[in-house]
């Protein structure tokens, strides 16, 4: 079994934090994984993505082949669409609803939602609202991770352990905000399906 997932968003939205939590959880569960990411110029407000592959056996290619992603996890709706060609015919798309508009030709957001809903399974999460409820808008990434966690082949407690590890240097308040964001995202996804 290889589980392929694409993390998407805009530079600065915390894609690498999501990757950190999933990587560590995978290692804790004894899985192999390979995760590519983007550094450098694109991190300045450009489209960023990470390919993350989990498997019980060794994986070699750092990139997911087209048409073989099980899930797209996006912190931004337009960015979710950018990687549709990677999605399996029965793939899942989990995306935040809140657009990040920093380009002049950003399409009408309703059109984007409509396109996302063409995926066999899709969920648009109210990430901004739930992040605010958890205590900080910056936690949108953890809301989306929470929603996607329902699908990922990893245990809930491991996500939470490594969210705590990730934010521990920033103090308890930040840790709790992010844990709550994760929970709210997870509940939202469970309520949906």
């Amino acid at each position: 079994m290889t589980y392929n997932l694409i993390l998407a968003g805009v530079g600065g939205q915390g894609i690498l934090s999501i990757a950190f939590v999933i990587d560590q959880a995978a290692l804790a569960e004894g899985l192999y994984f390979l995760q590519s990411e983007v550094h450098g110029m694109s991190q300045r407000g450009g489209a960023v993505q990470a390919h993350l592959r989990l498997s019980e056996t060794e994986i070699h290619s750092p990139l997911i082949p087209q048409g073989e992603a099980d899930l797209i996890l996006s912190v931004e709706p337009l960015e979710a669409l950018r990687y549709f060609s990677y999605l399996k015919p029965d793939g899942v798309v989990i995306s935040s609803r809140s657009p990040y508009i920093n380009i002049p030709d950003y399409p009408p957001v309703e059109d984007i939602y409509r396109e996302i809903k063409r995926a066999p399974v899709s969920l648009l999460v109210e990430a901004d609202k739930l992040a605010k409820e958890a205590g900080s808008l910056r936690a949108e990434n953890m809301v989306v991770l929470g929603a996607a966690s329902v699908y990922l082949p990893l245990r809930e407690e491991n996500f939470k352990n490594f969210i705590s590890v990730l934010f521990q240097t920033k103090g308890d308040k930040v840790v709790n905000t992010n844990l709550k964001a994760f929970d709210l995202g997870r509940q939202a996804a469970k309520g949906e399906f």
Binding site: G40, H60, G67, Y86, D105
Partner: protein, 532 residues
């Protein structure tokens, strides 16, 4: 058996630490920066070993060479174009030879993710006649770095580790081994080998030439080079180097024929093994990241009679860009799967851009306005976040070539009749390679204006320290001989727009060398400081 999660860059860094590294040097550059970031984090504030950012790659290479002469294990790391800057000491270090293990990490960027070209560092290793090791995986990045230090001491030569972006910037678990003891004695004194007077250099070069046979022997026996004969009568042979082998490995189980394959992880590459493969097959496919380095050797001028050779040179694999699983599958005759399509929906691109509130934006606005009305102006620029000023909405700069080139090109432009001739360069790029051309401009009092964007950091690569920022930068400029009357400091904020435009306009009008420092901290590091 301990497994830890590492970026490819970090696997190299940890391999070096576990080899008993004494000193690491670097200049930031994507995709190599994380080698030094990791070394610094693990150095216990420099107590375990020296780990330092340097003013540029040439300096870093030379500092590492100095440490190697002193008998210490040293590593220098940079991006591929950094090797251009360090080329002089790199090539000559191969002639002098190394004393303590000397490892040179050069990270190539196929696909231009964050670079101005796709140059392939393997050519440099070949040019210098040193050994180059190319890992195919994270595990190999760690293992080969450990091997590199031993090899460097065994052969008395620098050894290159070649990385590519996709390995440098991906993460995977790596099994680590017990660290070697750090037991290098400091060696005082000298060897005549290190003074490249022609007589010594001639002698040393003969030594280097003789060593080539030993390097080839090593390549032949090296376990990281792997040959596997054809199965089930297949007449196809695959030659795959470094990370390209990993893409091949992923696809191999899906093939219903069993091609012979040769994995290459060293240069010189194992020629005998390659001949063995060629002998068994009718068709050879060469897969490599970067230039068709091995492919060119195999093809030669006349090809191999009776054999078909495929790769980047006949278009089986695109000549440019990085490899993907689809490209490798396609080269082996497998069709790629297709994913979902977004049909007619027009997906706008989202290129990188300056952060909102970035000081560079304010400087560009003022500069654009100050240049209004001139029709023979040119703004020569440089490498950093501010290169994004070439894009809308600013469209403020017209060149980006290599580190420090803005200042030299502005001088050349001015002397060719460009007016106003403007250079725009960041503080760190300026100390990297802008100081020397500025001295040239001071000497000639060239009619040009240099704008130094002093944001106090190397912002693009993740906020590494800058060597010439703030007050010390001002003193540096005065020390270089810049006329104090035409050395201005502006604070690029929207509220200062009129004032700043006026100052720039005045200096553009001045017929001689002016330097304007646009000083305001990068908002990213400002944010980090506030948060911490």
């Amino acid at each position: 058996m301990e497994k830890i999660i590492l970026l490819g860059d970090e696997a190299v860094a940890l391999g070096a630490i576990h080899s008993g590294l004494n000193a690491g040097y670097s200049y930031p550059g994507t995709p190599a920066s994380e080698v030094m970031e990791f070394l610094i984090r693990q150095s216990d504030g420099g107590r375990k070993y020296v780990a330092k950012w340097c003013v540029n790659e040439k300096v870093a290479m030379e500092e590492a060479l100095g440490a190697s002469y002193a008998g210490q294990r040293a590593m220098v790391s940079f991006k591929h174009v950094g090797l251009n800057v360090a080329a002089d000491p790199f090539i000559n270090a191969a002639v002098t030879g190394a004393n303590g293990g000397l490892v040179v990490v050069s990270a190539d960027d196929p696909g231009f993710h964050s670079s101005q070209n796709e140059q392939d560092s393997r050519y440099y290793a070949d040019f210098a006649r040193v050994l180059c090791l190319e890992p195919a995986s994270h595990q190999e990045a760690y293992d080969l770095t450990r091997e590199a230090f031993d090899l460097s001491e065994k052969f008395g030569l620098p050894v290159m580790i070649r990385l590519v972006t996709r390995l440098a910037h991906s993460r995977a678990p790596v099994v680590i081994r017990e660290a070697a003891k750090k037991n290098r004695d400091l060696k005082y004194g000298y060897s005549p080998d290190w003074t490249l007077l022609p007589a010594n250099a001639r002698h040393r070069y003969q030594v280097l030439l003789k060593l080539q046979e030993q390097l080839k022997d090593y390549a032949e026996g090296c376990l990281f080079n792997r040959f596997s004969p054809a199965q089930n009568g297949s007449r196809l042979g695959v030659v795959a180097t470094g990370l390209a082998f990993s893409y091949f490995q992923e696809i191999y189980p899906r093939l219903d024929f069993g091609p012979a394959f040769l994995k290459i992880s060293t240069y010189p590459f194992p020629e005998k093994k390659l001949l063995e493969l060629i002998d068994q097959v009718d068709e050879i496919i060469v897969i490599e990241e970067g230039y068709p380095f091995v492919e060119r050797f195999i093809r030669g001028v006349a090809g191999i009679p009776g054999k078909i050779i495929k790769g980047k040179m006949d278009g089986t694999i695109p000549a440019s860009g990085e490899l993907t699983p689809e490209i490798v599958a396609g080269a082996l005759g497998l069709s790629a799967k297709t994913g979902l399509s977004t049909g007619n929906f027009q997906l706008p691109a989202r290129p990188p851009q300056l952060c909102s509130g970035c000081p560079h934006g304010d400087t560009f606005q003022a500069l654009n306005e100050a240049l209004h009305g001139y029709d023979r102006a040119n703004v020569f620029s440089d490498i950093g976040c501010y290169t994004l000023g070439a894009l809308p909405p600013y469209k403020a700069i017209q060149t980006c070539v290599c580190m420090g080139a803005s200042v030299s090109m502005a001088k050349g432009g001015a002397e060719a009749g460009v007016y106003p001739s403007v250079a725009v360069i960041g503080d760190s790029t300026f100390t990297h390679s802008g100081l020397t051309p500025l001295l040239d401009a001071v000497y000639s009092n060239t009619d040009m204006t240099v704008i130094i964007l002093d944001n106090g950091t190397v912002a693009m690569t993740g906020a590494q320290p800058s060597f010439g920022t703030g007050e010390p930068l001002d003193r540096m400029l005065v020390g270089l001989g810049v006329n104090k009357d035409h050395l201005k400091v502006i604070n690029p904020l929207p509220k200062n727009h009129q004032l700043n435009t006026g100052i720039i306009r005045e200096e553009l009008a001045y017929h001689g060398l002016s330097v304007i420092i646009a000083r305001r901290e990068c908002i990213q590091i400002l944010g980090d400081k506030k948060r911490s």
